[in-house]
């Protein structure tokens, strides 16, 4: 593990321990009430979900055309985190929507695009799990297609129908709302980086083990 890992893990743990206090002390939003507080989890996980998808797509493209196995391991690790943070996003979203829109699920643009992105990353993992030998190249191709697909999904779902609080809400939030949100976002980002590093390391060690196995056999 790199030197920064343990200190960063401690920082991340402290931040996650402190964040409930910050969130609890944040002002009570007048129209939404208590349920608005779920945004402190929903938004950061959605951002990390998106970040993971970008990392996976770029690493896959580089693996496909350069053939570097390190990029493949990075893409795999990122895809798993996309699925995890995707679940958090997709669970917290409807919890809020039930209160705000009166329904658990709305076919709004960002909800639907997130669901489709999540589906692609699950398909990616299924392909790696059950695709047999050579599936890493195929999975990389899928990730590349999934990335190219994002604007198409977004535009098509957007014109299909839409009702979602727009992105411009966030920067205009009063600081008292914004501070806990950014704090929580940084905590999630740290968690993502730590988990990604750990997962990549696991694959690295597996690869080293394979090499050792092969050299002992020779």
């Amino acid at each position: 593990m790199p030197k920064w890992f343990v200190p960063l893990a401690v920082v991340c743990a402290v931040m996650f321990a402190v964040s409930p206090v910050l969130i609890a002390n944040a002002p009570y939003e007048s129209t939404m009430g208590l349920v608005q507080k779920i945004f402190y989890v929903h938004l950061p996980s959605a951002w990390v979900f998106l970040l993971g998808a970008i990392v996976c797509g770029i690493a896959s493209a580089r693996f496909l055309f350069k053939g570097d196995p390190r990029q493949d391991r990075l893409a795999w690790a990122a895809a798993e985190l996309v699925v995890v943070f995707g679940i958090i996003t997709l669970v917290t979203g409807p919890l809020w929507a039930r209160k705000a829109w009166g329904v658990w699920w709305q076919w709004d643009v960002r909800l639907t695009s997130s669901l489709m992105g999540w589906m692609v990353s699950v398909a990616y993992l299924l392909l790696r799990q059950f695709g047999g030998p050579g599936s890493e190249k195929l999975a990389a191709g899928l990730a590349l297609f999934g990335m190219a697909n994002v604007p198409f999904i977004y535009i098509s779902v957007n014109y299909w129908r839409t009702i979602h609080p727009t992105t411009s809400v966030v920067p205009t939030l009063p600081t008292s709302f914004g501070l806990p949100l950014w704090f929580s976002a940084i905590a999630f980002l740290l968690l993502f980086v730590l988990l990604l590093r750990m997962r990549v390391r696991l694959e690295e060690q597996r690869a080293t083990l394979d090499t050792l196995y092969l050299s002992a056999d020779a």
Binding site: A123, L142, I153, V157
Partner: protein
């Protein structure tokens, strides 16, 4: 050189298909069965749901297209002929384009049967604007087949290819389905809003251009070990 290989592969596929007609018959019959299942599920008191026709048409196209893709590449797998194609010194993207055109042809034949059938069963006036209909169907089919041909070709080596093909294909082709259904539904409106159809067809054409380019670009690295 490139077009010659494309033509060779396409002609070979057409010849094989015309000899047996296996894929054409089974795909068309499957598509018809699909439409019937939807009819029994959705038609109530002898009335078809309004606007349902567009969705049913595109679901039948997507399902039968998946079947055609699977069967086409199963045929190339049986005597390992796909390996023989890859062993030839021909440009691999040309092989992809040849297979793609064959799939588009098969799907087009299926659609020729499907469209009148859906129109008949669900009282949908598809044929009032034949040119727009053709544009929507063609651009949608190209998009679906472009992604499908690449995925089916790369899954030939995988043991679980039958189930993985739809699992990978449908999330990626969601824009095609949405655009196809919306544009077809717009066609069925009594007063045509050309702007809406134009928007969806433009989106489909962009999708086609992006994904055909991407597939041509990735076919070589994906098919080499």
């Amino acid at each position: 050189m490139f077009t010659r290989i494309v033509w060779l592969v396409l002609r070979k596929d057409l010849m094989v298909e015309i000899r047996s007609l296996e894929i054409a018959y089974t795909t068309i019959f499957f598509a018809v069965s699909c439409v019937l299942v939807f009819a029994f599920a959705l038609v109530q008191e002898g009335r078809a749901p309004t606007d349902g026709a567009a969705g049913i048409l595109w679901i039948a196209i997507a399902f039968s297209g998946t079947l055609a893709l699977g069967r086409t590449f199963e045929r190339e797998r049986q005597a390992e002929t796909l390996k023989a194609l890859l062993l030839a010194p021909a440009a691999r993207p040309a092989i992809y384009v040849g297979k793609l055109l064959g799939i588009i042809g098969l799907m087009a034949v299926t659609e020729i049967v499907l469209v009148p059938l859906v129109s008949l069963f669900f009282q949908a006036p598809f044929f009032t604007r034949p040119l727009w209909l053709a544009a929507v169907l063609l651009s949608g089919t190209i998009g679906f087949a472009a992604v499908g041909t690449l995925f089916a070709a790369m899954l030939v080596r995988a043991r679980t290819r039958d189930v993985l093909l739809p699992v990978l294909l449908y999330p990626i082709t969601v824009p095609v389905i949405i655009a196809g259904v919306r544009a077809t539904a717009a066609l069925l409106q009594p007063d045509l809003d050309a702007g809406i159809i134009q928007f969806w067809v433009a989106l489909l054409v962009c999708f086609d251009v992006v994904f055909v380019t991407l597939a041509l670009w990735t076919f070589e690295p994906v098919m080499t070990d």
